[in-house]
């Protein structure tokens, strides 16, 4: 059964957020960004390489302070610290090779002060939800890349975060695994009722999974388009057969193509 969606109208708000790096040379990496993400929304960001997508995630989670502007989470401003209620799944594999799958998943609850029984219950639930039952006592080194990412997602899941940030979590996986993982992500979203922010370079992934997609420009990244998908909440990867899917992807690409060319030209 899925939990009711987190219902505050503005769950996350970025106001005139800018991020500079001092260098040398000085880099204007991001912004100005103005963005409001609604509670319970599944929001994706696509953009060319180096546009600052990951920086945006760092700012949103509190890992990094914006050079200018403010970030608000649940009405409170972030000051360079990660607040309670946010879960992050990174691009690189962040599973801990010295812990088993079960221990990895339970890691985040070590500081929670919960009773052992409750921890075990949550871990068991997350492990089984992500389809890891068979490997619960294995070590990450024995698992494939996709399974390791599932471990990282399960570890985020046990914390019952209200906001889940994912930075190209399926980037290292093959296309078919990615589609299936996308379905898993949707299940997760419905189950937890959390707000989800997904950063991806795959347009089809963004178009298929999200309620809304933001298209970022080349560096310094700014939003140049916002696309509402209008998908029903009960969706999965089979939505690719819907004719609207093609139109959405086409629209995203038309906004994105020029920015991507700019980035390539810059690199060349």
């Amino acid at each position: 059964m899925s939990a009711p969606a987190v219902s505050e109208p503005s769950h996350v708000a970025l106001n005139e957020v800018i991020r500079h790096y001092e260098g040398p040379p000085a880099i204007h990496a991001l912004g100005p960004i103005n963005l409001v993400i609604r509670g319970g929304e599944f929001f994706s960001i696509v953009g060319p390489s180096g546009c600052g997508k990951s920086t945006l995630l760092d700012v949103l989670s509190g890992l990094v302070r914006p050079t200018g502007g403010s970030v608000q989470f649940e009405g409170k401003e972030l000051h360079g610290e990660v607040p309670d209620g946010i879960g992050v799944v990174f691009q690189e594999d962040s599973s801990m090779p010295w812990l088993s799958v079960r221990q990895n998943v339970g890691f985040g609850l070590r500081t929670s002060g919960l009773a052992k029984a409750e921890i075990t219950e949550r871990v068991d639930h997350a492990v089984s939800f992500m389809g890891l039952n068979q490997f619960a006592d294995h070590y990450p080194a024995q698992l494939s890349g996709g399974m390791r990412q599932r471990v990282c997602i399960a570890r985020t899941l046990v914390l019952r975060p209200r906001l889940i940030l994912l930075d190209e979590p399926f980037g290292a996986l093959d296309q078919q695994t990615r589609l299936l993982m996308g379905d898993e992500l949707l299940r997760l979203w419905r189950e937890t009722g959390a707000t989800v922010l997904l950063i991806t370079h795959a347009l089809d992934e963004a178009a298929m999974l999200s309620d809304r997609v933001g298209v970022m420009s080349a560096r310094p990244g700014r939003f140049i388009d916002m696309v509402e998908t209008g998908w029903p909440r009960d969706r999965d990867s089979r939505i690719v057969s819907d004719p609207k899917f093609g139109a959405l992807t086409a629209r995203l690409w038309s906004s994105l193509r020029e920015e991507s060319l700019k980035t390539m030209g810059r690199a060349a």
């Binding site: 946010i86 992050v88 010295w98 890691f107 080194a141």
Partner: protein, 253 residues
């Protein structure tokens, strides 16, 4: 038979064959007993010496010196390595030093140490630490280097404080390489201390070998030699197996 077992069998067979060959050569007089005594005599000698308690004092002395040097080397080495890792500037200065350190025969400083600290344990301990600590520093640096930044990011996302990040993330992640450093530290401390005892000392197993040699007591000399070799191989062997087990869990098999 699995490959691992086959390799083990062949290895044991090869070693046994060498020992038997040596035994035969000694028994038949091909090798002069004034030069090398038969392995069986070596074992007998070693058993006698240990059984009679003659070696007890030497054993206690050597083992305690090595243990002290080992513990100091690990403590100082890990601390120094951690400090150097935090400061890029210090790192830039230390890297070439550490890279060249083991090219210098540290042993040549031993007579100087004796002149400075007198005969006895102190110069031996210092020699052991000088031999072992840099290896620990190098492997500490390597271990801390190997820490992927995503794990640190993850620690922050989980809002772990400094102490917890160190204890729950940094230490376990760096452990394989740290352990390699500990293994080397034991090896170098052992070699340094016994070499020092051999050249210039009044007590210890190294001295016992030197004394026996100079007294033309081949039998006693080889007995102690055998004992030292067995201790070295066993101690290092245990750490080696332990290290392998640590690494195996973390790498794909």
């Amino acid at each position: 038979m699995t490959r691992r077992r086959a390799v083990l069998c062949v290895r044991v067979a090869v070693l046994a064959a060498l020992v038997i060959l040596l035994e035969l050569c000694c028994r038949t007089g091909i090798i002069d007993p004034l030069t090398v005594i038969a392995p069986s005599d070596m074992v007998a000698s070693m058993v006698d010496l240990i059984g009679s308690g003659e070696l007890n004092e030497s054993i206690a002395s050597t083992f305690s010196t090595i243990a002290l040097a080992f513990v100091l080397a690990i403590g100082l080495g890990t601390l120094a390595g951690a400090l150097i890792h935090r400061s890029p500037r210090l790192r830039d200065v230390s890297d070439p030093l550490l890279a060249s350190y083991y090219s210098v025969p540290t042993f040549i400083f031993y007579p100087l140490l004796v002149a400075l600290l007198g005969l006895g344990k102190p110069p031996l301990v210092v020699l052991g630490v000088l031999s072992a600590a840099p290896a620990v520093m190098i492997s500490t640096l390597s271990g801390l280097d190997s820490l992927s930044s995503v794990l640190i990011k993850m620690a922050r996302v989980h809002r772990l404080n400094r102490a917890r990040t160190l204890w729950w993330i940094v230490l376990p992640a760096a452990l394989p390489r740290l352990f390699t450093g500990f293994k080397l530290a034991l090896s170098y401390a052992l070699i340094g201390v016994i070499a020092g005892e051999f050249i210039l000392s009044g007590t210890g197993l190294g001295y016992a070998i030197s004394f026996a040699y100079q007294s033309f007591d081949n039998r006693a000399m080889y007995g102690v030699m055998l004992f030292v070799m067995l201790v070295a191989v066993t101690a290092n062997g245990i750490l080696y197996v332990w290290e392998g087990r640590l690494a195996r869990r973390r790498s794909a098999r």
